[in-house]
Amino acid sequence: MKPAHQTMLLNVMLLAGVMGLFVTSLMWGETRIMFSHALADLLAGRHTAGAIIVERLRLPRTLLAILVGGTLGLSGAVLQGYLRNPLADPGILGVSGGAALGAVSVFYTGLMQVSIAALPLGGLTGALCAAAVLMGLVGRGGTLVLLLAGAALSSFAAALTTLVLNLVPSPYASFEIMHWLMGSLTDRTFTHVWICLPGVVCGTLLMLSSGRALDALTLGEDVAASLGFQLHGPRGVQTRIVLGAALAVGSCVAVSGAIGFVGLVVPHLLRPLVGFQPSRLLLPSFLGGSLLLLLADMVVRLVAVGPELQLGVLTALVGAPVFFARVIMLKRTVS
């Protein structure tokens, strides 16, 4: 089968999976409700308990799982392609951590009361600063430098987030560190969907527009430049990717907290299926990320032991073994 057909088939299958889980996620939850009745009530505009549960509690949560998971998967694929490094991921590189810091600084200090847009802007600013610092630190350094810089940046951002949470007036704030460092979609509302949607759409479009340049970059920067791709400068590939990832990841982290490993594990699992071509990996990564996060969110809701698990814990359980495997492979190639 031709790679193009294969990618198409993969996309269709992933999309079908996302749609299936979307419906299941609406039907399945902590309480058993008659889904057909709830849907009928919802469409008729009656505010029954079932309709409220589906519309106001489960729907925003499900939509956010799709948006956030897709964003993380896609930005992982784009960053891995651009940095030509299979370990790049917004979480590991500290971009998510920076976004969480920005969002926390806005949310708890009351700036959000001024305007609802302050929250995604805070996340975006944090993500952009983190990405800029990262690019500045790494320059043309190799994998090791990138990972070191990412580790330093994410632990620094986590420490600053904790500091901000300790300093703000709310007595609950310091207990909410887990939400921001591990991520969760518990009790999100439609406001949160609207908060993150514009950033996700713009960021995703910016990242998708760089697909062909990523293909060229596999041959090296000089070749890519000679093929007519502008790499640096205000309209270059680098700007588009960094801005796109920061926009999308920043607005997502602002509503869900930093969920790790999605951007690492999804492109890694899908890459062999698309013939190792970065541009073909982008759309499947988005869908795969959505699928993974939908699945994780359903597990979180069904495994109800006391307080809900954080989403990031589950993605880390899936993602960390992949990360370890990559590290071992890296060690073999170096030695």
Partner: protein, 279 residues
């Protein structure tokens, strides 16, 4: 070790003027609830210090009066330094500071949290006796008992249900002051009826699927947080509209005080509204 502490205390005491300026004992409080009882009962000048928390209007009913009183951090060091005659505290917190008070020769009174409305006059009297103002205590306790008797309603098995929903989805269970307030206002506690065993958290989904007649949003703590923003979730607003919803400031029943009866009044009004709206 004890003798060293005692020696240090003796040295300390020798440094201060011995004749007390006040006839009444000087009192320090280490707990938000004893802070407020002290503010209610004490003569001006009797208070050595109350905790900084008493000035927070989210937690304390008497925050305005608390601004006039001196503030003391609830630590052993500040108790040793201010050597009060009486130290008031809770039974769970600031244990070391209370021990320091005991070793410094102060009378230490540890009050357990009030678990019912009838505990409140007892606690008022305990504090009043300890700080040497029993008449004032009797006056307040009597007034409380009279007002409580005028407010209480008969309980019945068909009373409407009410859930006290606090930040992070915590629900108030049996054996607490809010539970007793509910009973006095003619409500059955939803948490008890649902018999949700071990866990004290209720998810919003459960609350909406099997709704209580009245949802009491128990707001506490200043500032913004995820835990508190949960109470403003649009799903709750939609599912508990109009008379099915009541905002009740947590400071009213955080401590057992005469003002706690205001929460009984608010709840009785809410019950009245519920009955009016029922078809």
């Amino acid at each position: 070790m004890k003798s060293v502490v005692a020696g240090m205390m003796a040295g300390f005491l020798a440094c201060v003027p011995l004749a007390p300026a006040w006839a009444l004992p000087r009192v320090a409080s280490l707990n938000l609830c004893t802070d407020q009882l002290l503010l209610l009962l004490a003569e001006p000048g009797q208070i050595v210090g109350i905790t900084p928390l008493a000035r927070d209007c989210w937690s304390a009913v008497l925050c305005e009066q608390a601004r006039q009183a001196p503030v003391l951090r609830p630590t052993a060091e500040s108790i040793v330094a201010s050597h009060p005659d009486v130290v008031l505290g809770g039974i769970y917190t600031a244990a070391v500071a209370m021990q320091a008070g005991r070793e410094g020769g102060a009378q230490v009174v540890a009050l357990p949290p009030a678990k019912s409305l009838t505990d409140i006059p007892v606690q008022i009297m305990t504090v009043a006796n300890a700080i040497g103002v029993p008449e004032r205590g009797q006056q307040l306790a009597m007034a409380f008992a009279t007002r409580l008797a005028s407010l209480s309603v008969e309980r019945s098995a068909t009373d409407p249900t009410a859930a006290v929903y606090a930040a992070n989805g915590f629900v108030t269970h049996k054996g607490s002051l809010p539970d007793d307030v509910l009973a006095h206002a003619g409500f059955r506690n939803y948490a008890t009826i649902m018999g949700h065993q071990s866990s004290s958290r209720f998810s919003m989904e459960l609350l909406i699927a099997r709704p209580p007649d009245l949802l009491i949003l128990d707001r506490s703590g200043k500032g913004t947080s995820l835990a508190q923003s949960m109470l403003d979730h649009p799903a709750l607003k939609q599912a508990f509209a109009g008379p099915h919803h009541l905002d009740l400031p947590a400071r009213l029943w955080l401590c057992g005080l005469p003002q706690t009866l205001d929460s009984v009044v608010m709840l009785r009004n809410a019950r009245h509204n519920l009955e009016m709206s029922a078809p």
